[in-house]
Amino acid sequence: MMYKLALRNVRRSARDYMVYFLTMAVVTALMFSFNTLLFSRDLLNMFETAGIMEVMIGLATFFILLITAWLINYMVRFILEKRSREFGIYLLIGFKKKEIARLYIRENLILGAGAFAAGLVFGVLLQQILMSVLYAMVQMDYHLHLEFNKNSLLMTFVCYLFCYLVALFRCKRRFKKMNIHDLMDSQKKNEEIKESHERGKRVLLPVSLVFFGIFGLFLFCYKNWNTGVLTLFLVGLVLVIYLFYTGVSAWIICYLREKKDGMYRGNTLFLLRQFSAKIRTMSFTMGSLTALFTLALLGSAVAFMFNHFQSEILKDKYPFDVQINSNDPEDDFRKEMELLEKEADVEEFFRYCIYENGTNQVNTWLYTHLRIFGREYLKEDNTPDFEKIKENGAYCDLDTYMCLSDYNYLRKMLGLYEISLREDEYAIHMKERVVLETGDFSGEIVIKGRGQELSFAGYYTEGFSQDGHNGGDYVIVVPDAVIKEMRSYYAELAADLKGEAPFGLNDKLDDLESEGNNYNAQGQVMTEEASEEEYWEEEELGNSCCGSDTIVVYAMKNLVRDNAIPEIKYMLSAIVFPLFYVGLVFLCVALTVLSVQQLSDSAKYKFRYQVLSQIGYSRGEISGIILKQLLWYYGCPLLAALAISGVIAVYTGGKFNFYAGIKTPGFMYFLISALFFMGIYALYFILTYIGFKRNVEK
């Protein structure tokens, strides 16, 4: 009998709390599909950096578990409260508290199992979508195939069960404290609005707004951020998010008390009262929802940043099919060329050298002027700190030069037009990001050749592999006659392949190098110790560098573009995917709470709308009131979250663009994220509106 009763109650709960049921199914589906990324054998075999994805998804899972357990706990408590009268009747007819607790837990477990099963079906579909997106992101073909991984299923199940058990454990205690009268009575209670010290509380609204303003101002203008200031602001922000709602509610109450003109217009009075009553009793929940929305928005904005980075920047970062570096300027790359010819279809090779003339004025200028380095390489008296400069590996010890003919040959390989220089001219090829920051600094450097000062002919900023291959950040291009006076600094090999490079070519090139390293010039096997010594010798040469990029630094001696880009993209996906994952779950959880609150109110306070109908409101007018009421209720935490996350995201976006060298305006990521966010928001809103109207009109 109990089982039958539980089943019937589950059916009713699933119908009444459809949004909750659906959200739990969506959470299961998300968990299952993202867990697949952890255990997919294909991915583990394909990428060296799969460990990063594991760590990031694991971290995301931790936060998701917390928030899902909170949602279940919230809903278990909420449904318990709504059904208290029913439980009172059970007690009245002789059920024991223990039996009712067991019945309720059983109901919840059945409901959970239902959502889990539904979620798995949807999860299999979502898994395919997710894998297709991931493969598309890393530029690989994905063939649809069901991967019902046991580990992934088990992990999803364990996570899910953990959330339920944590939530239900507390539920038993709640049953113990109940008595029949309270249970039977609690449903009858209407909203009891206790208004006290509203004038005082009203101040909280301007205080929170001023704090938000100061926070925004500090974020953009304050330079000396440290842990103390940051902690202070974060604690303040969290506090202010919660106090904001108390302030809004108090402000509305004072507005109505002062009988301002607005309250006599249209439905304002009813709407303001409904709204203030709701956010007053729910200020803590509203604060929590705003915090969740803010995190979700920020998560997806950062995810969009990295996503944009990988689609925009990577192709410029690695323009050559193959690029190989050697610290030995005499290296003829014989072994590498043999391997490439064996493994791939090579169109052409081009071996060339980067040169130095014993100066390091450009390096010094960049170390002391780029914002990324701050004042790190400046002494107190604003002169360069050469000791420190020597220790940094962003640039080589000496300035890097290239001769015009080599430069033009490389440009031709990339399909770019050739440039010409007079005998007394030089040009600089530099990363666009750096040029945008420095502007023209040719007036502050002196480049000499053949005994005379060369004049500056211009900057070139096309993608040119400047993470240590064609210089770090920059290379100075001089006429061939000038280069003859300089010394070879290191050697480079660029190769153009027909079609795509085979999978694993990069690894083979790396293996070749490590094999080579174990032999000395005479072909004798070296010990590990000797090999290490050679590494330090290379370091002594000071002719390796990686440029000043910070977001993605993939400075490799051997670079096969078709191997490196998927690897980097996968690495970036390890940031993008978990952020979306966390953002989505947070968003769904918060929206479920909002939705369930309103739907349950629509059933409990149906009489309010009946009264409106009795005093002459038409059905259309009541629908209008419901729509406005929901818009206010959904809009308030949305606007607060948009404002807070907007400021942070625009600031972060600006910083990200600065370091990554992207020209897209910083607010774009936030805008895309907000649109994506509001799409899901609208979906929940429409579902709630339809449900609300149905409940009222029933």
């Binding site: 209407n190 006599y264 009813f270 009262r273 309010r608 009795q614 005093i615 002459g616 038409s618």
Partner: protein, 252 residues
């Protein structure tokens, strides 16, 4: 004047049909305080609901002057309710999120009156019903009698042609009930409000000027208050009730 002509209301479908109101006809004159009495299930609330446009008739017509409200569309009905009717219910039906004053103001804002006019009329009503001192209180903070008087004030806010009251004293103690009924009489006499009250309490009914007795959906008797005062009218009502088999006896 309101004319109720052969109104019928059936519930149920196919095999099981319940006649809640069975061919009822009567008229309500302007300025009249009319009461309807009957046992539970006699159809009195159904009749009130049809009169108040909350429920539809199965057959028959209800005319407010020359306007047949059974023919009106849903939108026109709500417009009609807004302009012509006021409601007082047993369970007050006040909006719990609004203060006493705001409950009254809300009804007035529907008529798009100006702020000054709303404030003045609201003050007058609060004074008239003796609830000025609780104007800023929420419904849960005041007594049942005060709540019901607030509901009355709201019902009167837009000067309705007809005030409909469904067991208005049902949830009140005897003192509060008496005050409310005196208020009704006062509103009827001083403001000329037409009141249609449904009750099963003889004491409440004795305040009316005319009473219709309903049984099994039909009017079976009618009493008109004479010149002999309320006590005599109450005895007449009790006599009618005793004739019907004493079903109401316990309630008196």
């Amino acid at each position: 004047m309101i004319r109720i002509c052969d109104v019928e209301k059936y519930y149920g479908n196919g095999t099981q049909v319940t006649k809640a109101v069975d061919r009822v006809s009567f008229t309500v004159e302007s300025g009249e305080f009319i009461g309807v009495m009957g046992a539970s299930g006699s159809g009195k609330t159904t009749l009130l609901n049809m009169l108040s446009t909350i429920d539809t008739v199965t057959a028959g017509h209800i005319y407010y002057d020359e306007e047949d409200i059974t023919e009106l569309s849903e939108d026109k009905l709500s417009e009609f309710r807004k302009n012509n009717l006021g409601f007082v219910f047993q369970d007050y039906n006040l909006l719990d999120t609004l203060t006493v004053e705001e409950n009254i103001v809300l009804a007035m804002t529907l008529h798009k009156k100006g702020k000054g006019k709303i404030k003045k009329e609201c003050d007058d009503l609060l004074k008239l019903l003796g609830i000025s001192e609780v104007r800023d209180k929420f419904p849960y903070e005041i007594s049942g009698g005060q709540k019901q008087r607030c509901a009355c004030a709201r019902a009167l806010a837009n000067h309705p042609r007809l005030l409909l009251a469904d067991e208005p004293t049902g949830a009140l103690d005897s003192k509060a009930a008496q005050t409310l009924l005196e208020t009704f009489t006062d509103m009827n006499r001083r403001l000329g409000a037409t009141i249609f009250m449904v009750t099963h309490d003889a004491f409440s009914a004795s305040y009316c000027s005319r009473i219709l007795f309903l049984k099994d959906g039909k009017i079976f008797h009618e009493l008109i208050a004479g010149e002999n005062g309320r006590r005599a009218f109450l005895n007449e009502i009790l006599d009618v009730l005793s004739l019907t088999g004493g079903e109401f006896q316990n309630d008196v």
